[in-house]
Every structure is written in structure tokens, then in C-alpha cells.
Symmetry: C2
Subunit: 566 residues, 2 copies
């Protein structure tokens, strides 16, 4: 006789967590099908939304982690690592458990069978509960993102909290839809002439790929990691999260609450583990090459993303890398609004978003506007003026710029003077609350169309180029060529003529980049809305995947079928 199998993934036991969050999932499923506006997690940190005590409690919880061992009971040798240095100069000193690849992967693999056997609804129910738990701790998360990324607090709350949770829920909805597009079982009855029909009962098992590795970045530790974490987890894969050494805390908090929920629901908490590393350890590369790792999500440099794609051959690799985000300026019926909108996009988080525009292409002869013809210099002055206005008052400016995330950005800023005519020099601002914070305002540099060696690559940080072109047609040619070759996450166009907008849209389709047209109000090119905007396209070198679509989730699991007569 055979031993009884430990669990069947056919039988999906009723899941109380799935039932608890079924309405949220249902709404998310309709949102991803409609792609209109929806958000599940309020983005305003106001006490009217979150209650009078939430902010203080969250900050206290954050403070409680500082200078202490982070509470995480995952397998490991018992030693600790502390690698974070806050861009604001906040003394963090959080000590994280340290584990080697063998330990992490063995624990992850051991956790897989029970999670696979739980089936899609139970897994998605647990993931939804994890999101609810994280949402209950959103101020704690926001403080951690703020302190480690250098984002101003409100931005950290929104991008690192509410919007990250929305993106996670979006990924969950796609994962659920993909896993359930086929029934769990089906009856097959084939007519056989005058004889009895042939009949089979078929069972379709959702089978995860293996261990999933998520490699986080310094600037958006949660927003860029959550879709991969939750898409992999929901589809049955244990997840090992390797945070950027400079932004561990937001993901450590995430792992903490994920493990808490998993354990409460009766699952192995090692389905979610933190892979904090010592300086120079290179743990991401060690993990990425292990045969157990079958899925990798990465956000960061083109160099490392390309390395992962080339070397982690046993895994499906999803990357978001660098690019040259571009604005084509042809004409506008709201010159002031255009300058204000572009100025805001350049200033927000000191241009340290992967979506910040870098190249602004303007005809050398100027453009038509509602204020009459504006020369190249006048357009440049308009944008520079908008940036200047937003950064004039340091106390207000820092709530927009945040702090410079690392020395590399500062060093790059120091280089710009040698590149071309500096139209707006970067200034250092004193942060009223954090005397050690490095705050620097955007630099604007004028280049010629021939300077493609400069503007044809990414200058990450508050560095943008105003590039003189012969005409809008020339601008579109440069746009098409640079984005096709170097990639981009965002593009924008300003034009009053629909023919020009259509031509820009055709160029964007050719280059495979998302386009925003005539943004002059409260929507900015560097912001994408979960459930409606796709982030990255996977159609140019800046990323090989989009957040979030069918392709992003479909490869994270396989169907294995069994058929029996009857």
C-alpha cells in the first residue's frame, strides 16, 4: 500500500480569509478589466481618514525599531546586519537577521507543498489579509520608506504606502484571474457515433514555478517590490525578499506582517523571508543563480538587470531598469500650466523617480502658446521659473524634493556644469527638520541635438536636459531613436494640434513607451495610477515587463492536469 499523500491541491477547503476579502477582490477584478479610476487604500494621511492616533502610533512603531534587533523569527545563523544610512540623517541602526542562501532556500522549499496544496482562493485570501494587515500599519511603513528612501513624508505615505498596496492588490487580482481562467476540474464527453460517449474527468492543478526572489531598490522599496512579491506568492511560490542594503526596513516590516498572517492562517511563515545582507556580500547574485530560484523580480540599474537576464537562466526574470524619459514640446494652449506641470515633475523627489523626465525636446525656433510665440529660451525660462518657484522656500521645498538618496546622485549633479549651458543650477537647501539631509534642487542644462552622447543615456537624479531640435518632426525622430535604443518608462508631448498628438502617439507606439499628452493640471507624467495606468511596457529596453498585466503573472505558475475515466 502507498502512503496517503499529505495534501491534495484539488480540495480547496473553505477559506475564511478569502470570504472576508471577497468583495475587495471582486472590485479589484472589475477594476483591472475596466482600467478606470479605482483605489482600495486612501492616499490621504489625514486624521479624518485614518483617525486621530494612527500617525503617532505609526511613528512610535517605527521609532521602536531603531537601534534594535528587528523582530523576525525566520531561520538563520543568529547573526545580524545593519546597513542603512538615512538620506535625512535619521539614526536608524536597525539590526536584521542574517541568513545564507542555503538556509533561506531550504526553508522556502520546505514551505512550498502546503502552500501549493491550499489552492488559489485560500492563497489569495491570505495575501489579501496581508495587505489589510500592512494597511493597518501604513504609517509605520510610511515612516520607514521616508527614512530610508529620502522621500518626503506625504510622498512616502502615498507612493510607499497606499499606492504600493494598490499595486499589490492589482497584482493579486491579475494572479487570481489568471489562475481561475480555467476551472479546477472539467468533465469531457466526446460523442462516439452510435456507441457510448468517451468520458473523462479532468483535474487542473495550479503548480508554482519554485522559489521567487524579489530584489528591491533604494528609492521605492515597497512600490516596486509589492507587485512581484504578491504575484509570486499568490500563485504558490515562496518568496525571498532581498532588499536594497539602504532600504531594508520597509521590506522587513512587510515580511514581519506577512509572516504573522501566514502563521495565523496555519501556513509556514517561511513562505516570505527577508534576505538582508552584509555590505559587499552580493547575496542577490548568489540567490539569483541557484537552481531553486525560478522567478526573479528586479528594479534597479540596467547593468545589473541585464546581468540577471543573461545569467539567471533557470529563472523567469522580470526587470525594470534605466531609461531616458522624454518630453516633446511642440505647442501649448496653457503655457503657464505646462511649465508648472513640468517643473513639478522635475522637482518631485528631486527627480529620483524612474519616471522623471530627463530629456525635454524643444524646437530651437520656439513654440506657439496661448501667450503668443515663445522662443526656446523663453520656454526654458518658463520651466526653470516653475522649478524655482517650487523650491524657493526651503521649508516647503523639502516636502516636495525630499533628500538626495545617495552620493552617486550628488556626484552626478556636480558633473552637469561641464555638459552644456546650465540654464538652472542645482542649489543646496537646508532641511528644517533634518540638518544632515542632503537636499538639492533640479539642474537644467541646455544641449544641442548633436549631444546625444550625453542625453542618450540616463542621468539618474534631478538632472534634465533641454535639447534644441530643428523642429517637432526632428524631436519625434530623436524621441523614437533614443527610446528605442535606451528605453524609457515615460514620455510626454505638448501640442495643440491633434495631428501632432497622433504623430507623437505613433512614435510612442513604435518606441514602445507610454505617452502622456498635454498635462497641465494635477496629473503628472511621473505618476501612474494602479488599476488604470500600466507602469512600464516591456516593449523597450527600460523594462521587460509591465506592472501589471496578464504577461506579468501568467508565467509564475503552470497547469498540470490529471484525467480519469468517468
Amino acid at each position: 500500500m502507498m502512503a496517503v499523500m499529505d495534501a491534495s491541491d484539488v480540495v480547496t477547503t473553505p477559506s475564511p480569509l478569502y470570504a472576508r476579502h471577497a468583495k475587495t477582490l471582486e472590485r479589484a477584478l472589475s477594476a483591472i478589466a475596466d482600467r478606470g479610476y479605482w483605489s482600495a487604500y486612501p492616499e490621504s494621511p489625514s486624521p479624518r481618514v485614518y483617525g486621530e492616533t494612527a500617525a503617532a502610533e505609526g511613528e512610535a512603531a517605527f521609532r521602536g525599531y531603531l537601534g534594535a534587533d528587528f523582530p523576525l523569527d525566520q531561520p538563520g545563523a543568529g547573526d545580524r546586519v545593519a546597513t542603512e544610512a538615512s538620506p535625512f540623517g535619521i539614526d536608524l541602526g536597525v539590526r536584521y537577521p542574517h541568513a545564507d542562501a542555503d538556509t533561506l532556500l531550504a526553508a522556502a522549499r520546505a514551505a512550498l507543498p502546503g502552500w501549493r496544496a491550499a489552492g488559489p482562493p485560500a492563497r489569495v485570501g491570505v495575501c489579501l489579509e496581508i495587505l489589510a494587515r500592512l494597511h493597518a500599519h501604513i504609517f509605520e511603513l510610511a515612516n520607514a520608506v521616508h527614512a530610508t528612501s529620502g522621500q518626503a513624508f506625504v510622498m512616502a505615505f502615498q507612493a510607499g504606502g497606499a499606492h504600493a498596496l494598490d499595486r499589490a492588490l492589482e497584482a493579486l487580482a491579475y494572479s487570481y484571474a489568471e489562475m481561475t481562467r480555467h476551472p479546477g476540474s472539467a468533465r469531457w464527453e466526446k460523442p462516439a457515433g452510435r456507441g457510448e460517449p468517451l468520458t473523462m474527468t479532468k483535474t487542473f492543478h495550479v503548480v508554482p514555478r519554485g522559489v521567487a526572489l524579489v530584489v528591491g531598490c533604494n528609492t521605492f522599496p515597497t512600490w516596486n517590490s509589492y507587485p512581484g512579491i504578491f504575484a509570486s506568492l499568490a500563485t504558490g511560490n515562496p518568496v525571498v525578499i532581498k532588499p536594497h542594503p539602504g532600504a531594508v526596513l520597509p521590506l522587513a516590516i512587510t515580511v514581519r506582517y506577512a509572516r504573522e498572517v501566514l502563521a495565523e492562517a496555519g501556513f509556514d511563515p517561511n513562505l516570505v523571508q527577508l534576505a538582508a545582507e552584509a555590505p559587499g556580500e552580493g547575496l542577490a547574485s548568489t540567490l539569483a543563480l541557484r537552481p531553486e530560484v525560478r522567478i526573479i523580480d528586479f528594479t534597479g540599474s540596467t547593468e545589473y538587470g541585464d546581468w540577471l537576464e543573461a545569467n539567471a537562466r533557470q529563472a523567469t526574470v522580470y526587470t525594470e531598469k534605466a531609461g531616458v524619459n522624454t518630453i516633446v514640446v511642440d505647442s501649448t494652449d496653457d503655457f503657464a500650466g505646462m511649465c508648472r506641470n513640468i517643473g513639478f515633475s522635475l522637482t518631485l523627489y528631486s527627480g529620483q523617480m524612474c519616471t522623471t523626465p530627463q530629456n525635454i525636446l524643444i524646437p530651437s525656433g520656439g513654440i506657439a502658446t496661448d501667450q503668443g510665440w515663445r522662443s526656446f529660451d523663453e520656454v526654458a525660462a518658463g520651466i526653470a521659473g516653475a522649478v524655482g518657484k517650487l523650491t524657493a522656500d526651503p521649508a516647503r521645498a523639502v516636502e516636495l524634493t525630499g533628500a538626495i538618496v545617495n552620493d552617486g546622485v550628488s556626484a552626478r549633479l556636480d558633473e552637469v556644469a561641464g555638459l552644456g549651458t546650465v540654464l538652472l543650477a542645482s542649489r543646496e537647501l537646508a532641511h528644517p527638520a533634518y540638518p544632515d539631509a542632503v537636499v538639492r534642487t533640479p539642474a537644467l542644462v541646455r544641449l544641442g541635438a548633436a549631444d546625444v552622447a550625453i542625453y542618450g543615456r540616463e542621468w539618474f537624479g534631478p538632472i534634465s536636459f533641454l535639447v534644441e531640435t530643428d523642429s517637432t518632426a526632428h524631436s519625434l525622430e530623436i524621441f523614437r531613436e533614443t527610446v528605442t535604443e535606451r528605453g524609457a518608462l515615460t514620455a510626454a508631448v505638448y501640442a495643440t494640434d491633434s495631428t501632432v498628438l497622433d504623430a507623437a502617439e505613433a512614435a510612442a507606439v513604435d518606441a514602445g513607451v507610454h505617452l502622456s499628452c498635454n498635462l497641465t493640471g494635477g496629473v503628472f507624467v511621473n505618476q501612474s495610477a494602479a488599476f488604470s495606468d500600466f507602469h512600464a511596457s516591456g516593449a523597450n529596453p527600460a523594462a521587460n515587463a509591465a506592472l501589471t498585466d496578464g504577461a506579468y503573472v501568467a508565467g509564475r505558475f503552470r497547469i498540470v492536469q490529471s484525467r480519469r475515466p468517468g
Copy 2:
């Protein structure tokens, strides 16, 4: 002013071909969601189904191609290649146009923008019309598959005609569903406190990846190629089809009618091109490494599939390779039916299906059956007897076995005597209709569990091993290990106890292979039904994709969005 863009992929003009086939598509969409029985193309070549003249007309059309220039007006240097040698000895001598990679890829790329701009419904409409056109020529296709693959005629009609068309339609339905899971446009309206809401109109463009390459195989030139061809074409990618040099005609006929329909519908016929090659030219490798080629579908050897995956890094590569298909025999309540069913599976197309069982694992102590306990030798004799009965009369046998596809299979058959105890020797049969055909019946060889160096790799052709194991638990262990390491496209189990069936199913889920249980009637382990059975899983080394699921189509296109205020 800008030049007006040549075409917009936003505007999808009404498509008469889509309208013509909308009901078929609708039925296919519900079939892929239900995964019950459905077929769009009758598998019986009977005159009652296809009319009295269809068979003769199809054969005449096939004969018309022989010894002549194949009528295909695609770009090329004007020279011709003829590389086919029929396993039945039919004198083919069809001369195909020959083109180099530059010519093919330039033509394909030039065809892309107009096809992309047509939009999903128009493209799917054209593809459905191509299927209808091919169906109208199904006897012509069946003769071509029969003559080039060595399949008996009825099998060629079914697998190479009706079932191939069903698989193509299945891939089309998935492609349509995936492209339309997001709307073509959406309005986004975000509340903004007491102010006016923020509003944007968003357009979502389906953007193909680039040129798609399909590399066909000798044994199933249409069945294994159609899903990739139609999934890539429907999602907007021009397709270059590189047939196996031994089975060009079925795909040349396919290309002919596809081009005919494309041209009639006003599209560039170079969206589908044949890449016939001269002996030793290595055109597949040349094409596979070109940057324009972004998608590759391949069926064939593990060696070449692995080479493609490792080297065609610019492309998404879908491969179906070799494996060790396995049957675990534990017990049965229909010994005669089991032997008959296994015998049929081994004999069909002389074991030259990628799904033919190779390793039959039987406890050395024998098994319980409805006829009492049967020793290992008795089980082996039962299976050998079933094969013997099916192959006793050459005239009837050849309608099941067809012919040996190439000398490699014959050479392998000649090796088996040295491997272990030959329980059933392969016999050469004279084909009544084709004196030059090489027809060989299945060989059965007894091996020990320790002979994993032999049974642990694929022996393509009518070669199966009856492997003595200690117990069913031991069989399952061997099954799990060999399939995990070497892959498999199919697996089967015979057991009367549901505990054993469940244990086999658990092992199949672990190894990532589809399992058939207790097949004793008219369903065979080597046959998979479109719309219901998944072919290959992508979860073991035998294939990295399944025919057909969401993952198979989702990566063939990307979404590029544009958003405008209002």
C-alpha cells in the same frame, strides 16, 4: 506641420471577416474557459462529412504540387530548393522558393505596421478565415502530412488536419481573450476633494513584439506549428515559418492559403512567409539570432531547443523538446483493456509521437488484476500480445504504424538488442501500397530499475522499456526522479486503489507532468484533445510552455498606453 500618421491602431474598422467567424470565436472562447469537449473541425474524413468529391480533389491538389515549383509569390532570389524524401517513398520533388534571412526579415518588418494598426478583431478575423480556408483544403493538407511525416492517412487527416486546426483555433481564442482583457480605451476620473475631478482618456494599444519565427518538426509539421503561428500572427507579429527540410509541403500549403487570405483582406501577404532551406544551410539558427526576431516557437530535439533558449536571447522562446514518458502499472480491474490500450499507444505512428510512452514501470512481483495476480512476465506478455495482435496483418498494421520517419529511428531500433532482454522484437513489414516504405513494429525491452542510464533518456521511435521495480512506491520514485530530471510530455498510471491514484497524481504534480489514469478504452495517453487537454506543461524539462494557456500567448504582445486630459 507634421505628416499625418499612416494608420492609427486605435480605430478598428469594421471587419467583415471577424463578423463572418464571430460565432466560431465565441464558441472557442467558451470552450477554453470550460475545458470540456469541443471540436470545430470534424475529424472523420468520411464522404458523409466532407462530401463525395473532397478526398479525390484534395489528393489531386496534392499530386499537382509534386515535381513542380510550389506556387508561392513571396520575396526571394528566385532559386528553388527541394529537400523532402517521403518515408513512404512517394516521389515528392516539390521545389520551394528560397530566400535568405535578410530578404525574409525585411519583408516581414515592412508588413508589421499595417497589421498592428488593424487591431485585434480584424487580425483575429483574418486568422479565422485562414483556418476556414485551410479547412476547405484539409484533404490536400492531410495528403501532404501523410507523405512527409510517414503518418498513416487517417492519422494525418486527424492530427495533421482537423486537430491541428482545432489547436490553431484554441491559440486564436486565447490570443483574442488576452488582447481584449483590457479595453481599447478607458476614461479615468479621480475625485479631487471639493474641486473638479481629474479626468483622463486613455488608449491602450496592443503592440506586437516583432518578427516571429516558427521552426517546424518532421513528424507533426502542422499540429506542432499551428498554435505558435496563429498566436503570433493574431497578436500582430509577422511570422516566418522554417519547416523541417523533410516536411516542407504541409507548411508551404499553409503559407500559400494564409497569404491568399491576407492579400484578399487587403493586408501584406508577407505577414506569413516560408523559409525553406537548402541542405545544411542552418537557416533556423541564422534567423533565430537576428535582432528582428522577437518570438520563436520550436518543436524538436532537446539539444537544439536548449541551444535556442541559451542563444536566442533577444527573443521569447517557446520550446517542446524530448522527454521520458512513463507509465506506472500498479494494478487494474481490466487487464485486457489495459494491455490493449498500452499496446495501441505504442503502435500508433510507430511510437514516433512526442507523447508515446517509453518507460513502463512494473513491480517485479507482479500486479493484481481482474484476472487474478499477474506476474511481471505475464504483464509484459499481455502488452506484447496486444502489440502483436495490432501488427499481425501488415495491411491493417500500416494504417496504424505508418512508416519510419527517418534513418535515425531505424538505427536506434537496431541498437535495442544490446540493451536488455528483448521481450518483443521489432519486425519489418511490407507496406502493401508503398513498396519503398520502411515499416517497423514496436520493440519491447526488459530492463532493471538500475538501468537508468538507458531508460533515463529518450529513445525516440517504437522503443519501450518494461522496467522491473521493487514496488509501486519504487515506481513512483523512479517516475518522479526521471521526469523531474529529463522531462516528459505524458504520464499514465494503472491502479484500482484511489490512494495509489492520488499518490501518482501527487508525484505528477511534483514532476510537473500531465497524468492519465486507468485508460482502458478509446482514450489514449498519447492523444490530447484541443480545448480540454493541455499539451505539455512547461513545468518539466520536456517543454517550457503548454499548448495552449494564458502564458503561451500573453508574452507575444505588449500594451502601450496613451493618456490625454478630458
